[in-house]
């Protein structure tokens, strides 16, 4: 479709199509129709079930669907978990996948046949240093044979596919020998085990890959160019993640604890004030100072994110917003967790379903580590801020420019499933 199309003409076309096709039932037939018509991912290229529309034109499509209550449009813009996969992995396959993969995988994803997915990026020895990954893919005829171990993959145990980073050349520096694959997880040699976290919950998996077979047409992008493909996927992930978290925030709004910019300053402090009141300590000036400091951190974090996200010099500001925001969040989440436990007093010694208050506070307190550790530790964020935003010089690391084969690598292998 032409990006020059006038929005109102496009809207009319969508309306006409909906009038003809939407029968009020979200069944398989409907889903396939939406996909084949290109409405499911209007920003995707036309050869990948899209229409090649700009984001703003795609939103015109979405608006018309919303107007009549028809689902499944614009998954390439949505904030849900499934939308996330479309936006991250669907996008890179649509842009860089070979025709066979593109036609099958993108279609399955959009129609909803591609059940769950797992991002197979991190490894036990490749965390902060993701490019140090050691999972290997070796070509054997028309298949790649993959061996290795992945970790921190969030998603269902019975996911049908994975987005895999594997090393395909050890004789070049680490970033240059990595390829990006879509792999079928429903085959022997794939073992997915939930990881038990310190909270007792399991939201992530470790995945063991033994002689797993990947057809050559499942490589996304060029062989050994997987790091570049990953950057596209991670860029889309950062964009999506913000909207996803916000959409969770909005459901919390109904609990009366959400605030928007330039709302009254006090909005959003209710949980802190309540904790102090419940403890009978709201008149203690030391506690008041803490509450105000925590609340201020929350406010300035929100303001900074909005300010930098909407800035015109977008590339630099996006990096700034993401890295500074993530660092700010760590401080907020850990400090709030600590404060609430303090206010709770001895109840904070308790846990489990019979001790709701203690359980909630302790879970909040522990989950703060998912921010300070997950998705790039605080230390990695500070590296990004100092090197990419402040322009400070990079320090020497022994692996820079060295063939991967010759780099000192970790060998710790442990099973961390609960």
């Amino acid at each position: 479709m032409d990006n020059d199309i006038a929005p109102d003409r496009l809207a009319e076309q969508v309306r006409d199509w909906l009038a003809e096709n939407w029968r009020g039932v979200d069944d398989r037939e409907w889903r396939e129709k939406v996909v084949l018509a290109g409405w499911a991912a209007p920003t995707f290229p036309e050869n990948a079930y899209g229409l090649g529309l700009s984001k703003s034109l795609a939103q015109v499509v979405g608006a018309e669907f919303t107007a009549v209550g028809a689902p499944r449009a614009c998954q390439d813009l949505g904030p849900g978990v499934v939308d996330g996969w479309v936006r991250m992995i669907g996008l890179v396959v649509a842009l860089h996948g070979l025709p066979a993969l593109r036609e099958q995988f993108v279609r399955d994803l959009l129609v909803g046949d591609a059940d769950g997915g797992l991002a197979l990026y991190s490894e036990p020895n490749a965390g902060s240093d993701l490019a140090g990954l050691q999972t290997r893919a070796v070509l054997d005829g028309d298949h790649w044979i993959v061996n290795g171990q992945k970790v921190w993959s969030s998603g269902p145990l019975d996911s049908t596919w994975g987005a895999l980073l594997a090393r395909t050349d050890e004789d070049v520096p680490k970033h240059q020998g990595i390829s990006f694959f879509i792999v079928d997880l429903q085959q022997p040699g794939v073992e997915v085990r939930p990881i038990k976290q310190i909270t007792g919950d399991s939201e992530f998996n470790e995945v063991f890959l033994t002689d797993v077979r990947v057809p050559v047409e499942n490589v996304v992008g060029e062989i050994n160019d997987g790091w570049a493909i990953l950057q596209v996927a991670l860029g889309a992930e950062r964009e999506w993640l913000g909207e996803y978290l916000e959409s969770i925030g909005r459901t919390e709004e109904t609990a009366g604890d959400h605030r928007s910019a330039l709302a009254p300053i006090a909005d959003g402090a209710a949980d802190l004030v309540r904790a102090a009141r419940r403890a009978g300590r709201a008149d203690d000036s030391a506690i008041r100072q803490t509450i105000v400091q925590l609340h201020t951190w929350r406010l300035v974090h929100e303001w900074t994110t909005e300010r930098l996200s909407s800035a015109s010099d977008s590339a630099q500001s996006q990096v700034a917003a993401a890295a500074l925001g993530k660092l700010a969040s760590s401080r907020i989440l850990h400090s709030v967790g600590r404060f609430k436990a303090q206010m709770l007093g001895p109840e904070a010694m308790l846990y489990g379903p019979e001790n709701r208050t203690g359980d909630d506070v302790n879970r909040e307190m522990m989950n703060a580590f998912t921010n300070s550790v997950g998705g790039g530790t605080d230390q990695i964020q500070r590296n990004i801020i100092s090197e990419r935003l402040l322009g400070m010089p990079r320090a020497h690391t022994p692996d820079r420019g060295v063939p991967f084969r010759d780099i000192r690598k970790g060998t710790t292998q442990r099973n961390i499933s609960g």
Binding site: A266, I291, V300
Partner: protein, 372 residues
């Protein structure tokens, strides 16, 4: 909160930065801070006549340009960055706001045009020996004398009081506070310059000995006016502090790139990188607070100025202290020398941290707004 600054504001910023680089370089700052007057009258006139800076928030009917606190914020941020030595804060932020907020049209008519033209330097005489920045700290009595009043007593920590043509004074008429104007040369008015930690900002003791004074605004409404002025002032100060904090961060980053130790720039050491990353977080956060503060000061819809102001004061003071402190630390021994300008920012930061009340006091004020 998106940015309050538009492209036009950024273009104003560029021209101001170029102006101060030219007319207020470090050498000029050092020259002026060593003088008693503390500013260059020619430059003062120039920023009035060529740039119209003194009249920025003065209404057009009084010879100003009627802009808002957002534009003033740009100016103050750049002045804070350059440590521009001039009685600007006292004249434009303190005295002008008193005139505007008092609603006293006669006084406005009398003084604002002079302020806008650069002919009148203003000051606010408020704090007394107790050092308190609140209503209770005002003990000086004004006694009625026909249509006029007489003031006797001492006011401390008066920014630029020694060069002021117009002194706005807070004093008690009966049990409530009123504001007064006193002109330079009034009988019984003496000013004495005090030696300051921050030599780029002059502070005077102003003494009144049966000095005639004119009521500014409504009798008894002084604290209402003044508390609004103080809220505006901390937001204005925040802009200065953000400018200073950014300058300190920039200095530290720059030095970390050129200072070689152990065969590499010290900026390649993760300890310094992470230290300055943390500083950047504080400076950017302070900047956001400043944006919200300027929006509130300009009457934009949303958060109330009286609730935003204490947040802004506490956050921006702390951030400037941190940035200027770490700048010295990054400079190592050089940072401890008089010759490197790191200490000038540090002293400004420390001095402004206690000016208009410290962070703890402002956080306690904010606590009240949170329903605590």
């Amino acid at each position: 909160m998106v940015s309050v600054f538009t492209e036009e504001h950024e273009s104003l910023r560029s021209s101001l930065r170029a102006f101060f680089a030219n007319r207020s370089p470090e050498s000029e700052v050092r020259r002026l801070m060593a003088t008693d007057e503390g500013y260059d009258r020619d430059v003062w006139r120039q920023i009035a006549s060529e740039l119209g800076l003194q009249g920025l928030i003065v209404p057009e009917e009084h010879g100003g340009s009627g802009y808002t606190w957002v534009e003033l914020g740009v100016v103050l941020e750049e002045m804070g960055r350059a440590l521009f030595c001039a009685p600007y804060f006292s004249t434009v932020v303190l005295a002008t706001s008193c005139l505007l907020e008092s609603g006293d049209t006669a006084a406005q008519k009398e003084y604002l045009e002079g302020i806008a033209s650069g002919d009148v330097v203003g000051a606010l005489a408020f704090v007394e020996a107790s050092g308190r920045w609140d209503e209770a700290g005002i003990e000086m009595a004004a006694t009625a004398d026909g249509d006029s009043y007489r003031l006797t007593g001492e006011k401390l920590f008066v920014l630029d009081g020694h060069v002021a043509d117009l002194v706005v004074v807070a004093a008690r008429t009966g049990s409530s506070v009123s504001l007064f104007t006193v002109d330079k040369g009034a009988p019984g008015l003496t000013t004495r310059l005090t030696e300051t930690l921050d030599q780029t900002r002059k502070v005077a003791v102003v003494t009144f000995e049966n000095t005639p004074a004119r009521l500014l605004g409504v009798e008894g409404a002084g604290w209402t006016t003044l508390s609004k002025v103080l809220d505006l002032a901390v937001v204005a100060l925040a802009a200065e502090q953000v400018g200073g904090a950014q300058a300190a961060l920039d200095m530290a980053v720059e030095y970390s790139k050129i200072r070689i130790q152990f065969g590499q720039p010290i900026g390649a050491f993760q300890a310094l990188k992470h230290m300055l990353a943390d500083v950047m977080l504080e400076v950017e956060s302070a900047r956001s607070a400043m944006h919200v503060g300027l929006a509130a000061a300009s009457g934009h819809e949303g958060a109330e100025l009286s609730a935003v102001a204490p947040l802004v004061k506490a956050y921006c003071s702390d951030a400037f202290e941190l940035a200027s402190h770490q700048n010295i630390q990054v400079h190592g021994g050089m940072g401890f020398t008089w010759e490197v300008p790191a200490h000038l920012y540090f002293k400004r930061a420390k001095s402004m941290a206690v000016f208009l009340g410290d962070s703890t006091q402002h956080r306690e004020r904010l606590a009240g707004h949170l329903g605590l």
